[in-house]
Amino acid sequence: MATAEGQQHPLSIYFWIWGLLFLFSAFSYATDFLPDGFVRTGLILLFMVLKAGFIIAIFMHMAWERHALIWAILGPPALLLFLIAILAWEGDYTVLTRLDFFSEPLAPAGLEH
């Protein structure tokens, strides 16, 4: 954990994480060659979370901080999940409305609701 001398850790851990970040970046790039679908989306998210986790935990030393700081910083962004959820909901509604009213072939006149 953090001491009066600051965050001192062996260099090897940084080289390890550096290597892993390179590897996961190569994997993320490789997902671009996969066909669209749940597998590709899942892999994009998996490598994104792994890279973000390693950067925060090791490079930003969050793994060695006290819980009071960890939760004060990593807790509030959880609220953003609500923002994402309500805007996804709204976006879904908007596109359905647009397809209904502004797109002739998809919404033939007289379509019943």
Binding site: G6, I17, Y29, I55, I56, A68, L80, E90, T94
Partner: protein, 229 residues
Amino acid sequence: MAQEGLNPTADELTADGWQGIVADWSTDKQAFYVPWGKAMMWIFLLSDTFIFTSFLTGYMNVRMSTAVEWPNPSEVFALSFFGQPIPLILIAIMTFVLITSSGTMALAVNYGYRRDRYRAAALMFVTAAFGAIFVGMQAFEWTKLIEEGVRPWANPMGASQFGATFFMITGFHGLHVSAGVVYLAVVALKVLRGDYERSGNYEIVEITGLYWHFVDLVWVFIFAFFYLW
């Protein structure tokens, strides 16, 4: 470091987890046992997290809600080498450049705490140089898209929201990288000059590093959501 009288007792520091959270936050005393500059940088980065998430969430909303087809980033950001287009290659190289700079920054922090100020400053300059390369490649990417007719309000390849979100998100990130290059250069110069020799306190390198790693962190999300999705 913490001022006298604010230092935690040995007992207080042994309890962590939920008991530690309560102990650290309660009884009207110092909550974060880190240098104040580090706590402030983390709080700034927290606010920046909200800004970037708002941008990316706004992007998600307009991409979901447009009835016009979204351009395929894999083709838009392809580059041709010897007549052979390689999908998304420029963005992949930019990603590797930024990760490389994050690694050199992590090493700089380590050498700072070892009070090896020449190595720490040199690594910070290398980090700043990689940052400058990144911004240069981004300028190239912007030029290419602007020449192809992409504007913040229009886009010949499909949904006009593509231009709006592209310039806003990558622009704001590029601004962060540019500011980071200046910040790194200033702190590296001060480290090299020996400004921190008297106190022997090199936590400033770690604080600068937090900012730089955050810029890399944001790019991880932009890469996944904007370029790969």
